[in-house]
Symmetry: C2
Subunit: 195 residues, 2 copies
């Protein structure tokens, strides 16, 4: 997605070979027209997938999911993160390890909002090690719902998450897929609509 890649090059900050900071338009300050374009792109790519719900995770997945949900005409659910859950009544839960923060959180989704009748699109802001997506997949499985695929705003293609998920035969659509952050430069993996 050209608009997004241009924005990353212009306003993203490469802090190291591993870390790209995009907090001026995606995960602290949000650029609403860009989120609208991102939502439209997800909606276009998944328009024939029969989606009934979008599932994301708080907080940075909410804005792009909201716009995709508005365009696809489906509700958005955001999984909540907690240090640890004591009351798990009527919740699907999964554990998600963050390598960046070196901490494990429980995520949860109410059983009211995803059921075996749903076809779910997962959306998240970043795909790096894939732990958040794996946690969300776990929840979809617990619900017995059908998975339409995974929509990612920015994939760090040089980290293992994308391969881990595609290996399972899951459709992953990343709107910008980064090949490398070396020498302070963002280079992208050329896009072809993945299967």
């Amino acid at each position: 997605m050209k608009l997004l890649k241009d924005k990353i090059v212009k306003d993203g900050k490469v802090l190291s070979n591993q870390v790209l900071k995009v907090d001026s338009f995606l995960n602290h300050q949000i650029d609403p027209p860009l989120m609208q374009a991102v939502g439209e792109e997800f909606a276009t790519r998944f328009k024939d997938a029969g989606i009934t719900k979008i599932l994301t995770i708080e907080s940075s997945g909410i804005a792009p999911s909201m716009m995709a949900g508005l365009i696809l005409g489906v509700p958005v659910i955001f999984a909540r993160k907690r240090k640890s859950l004591t009351l798990v009544d009527h919740l699907y839960t999964a554990s998600v390890h963050s390598f960046t923060k070196n901490e494990t959180n429980d995520i949860s989704v109410s059983k009211d909002f995803i059921t075996a009748q749903d076809t779910v699109l997962l959306i998240d802001d970043f795909l790096a090690n894939g732990q958040a997506v794996l946690g969300l997949l776990d929840i979809i499985e617990q619900a017995g719902a059908k998975l339409a695929g995974v929509g990612i705003v920015i994939e760090k293609g040089f980290q293992p998450g994308g391969a881990l998920i595609r290996e399972r035969g899951i459709r992953v659509e990343s709107l910008a897929n980064i090949a490398s952050l070396e020498n302070g430069q963002v280079t992208f993996i050329e896009e072809e609509t993945s299967k």
Copy 2:
């Protein structure tokens, strides 16, 4: 705002005289067309206030803020919540006590995104005791920014937050203001566009 009040009556769950659960359309599952209508209403009410930024707090404030930001044509910043902040370099921070959860979190906003040149609209999903809004006001003050006012999706008018903030001469626009949850019934304070 009639659409919102109708939704609260239809899908909100009164759990006690104090607690209204709206997690089927606002703070766990999100209803995108409703959020669009909410965003339009905020944009209409504050259209002449010269707003340059919207400030909210993760996570449930993000969806309505995003829609208001899209319509007003301004960026949205969401304050991040942390148990406690150790690295406060280049951040505005404030403490926010939650009476519901009986815990205090630090909230933070990067100094990059709010400056003395900004006119800021605060948006949040709920106004009850007002602690989150007070924390956000503190941050706006630290930035030396101008405050346009406060936009609230649902105010619990029987709790002290609204009075606490209006007392300071701050414009508060609540799209639904609840008078009481007694006897399992939601009753609203009749709306008049507050000054």
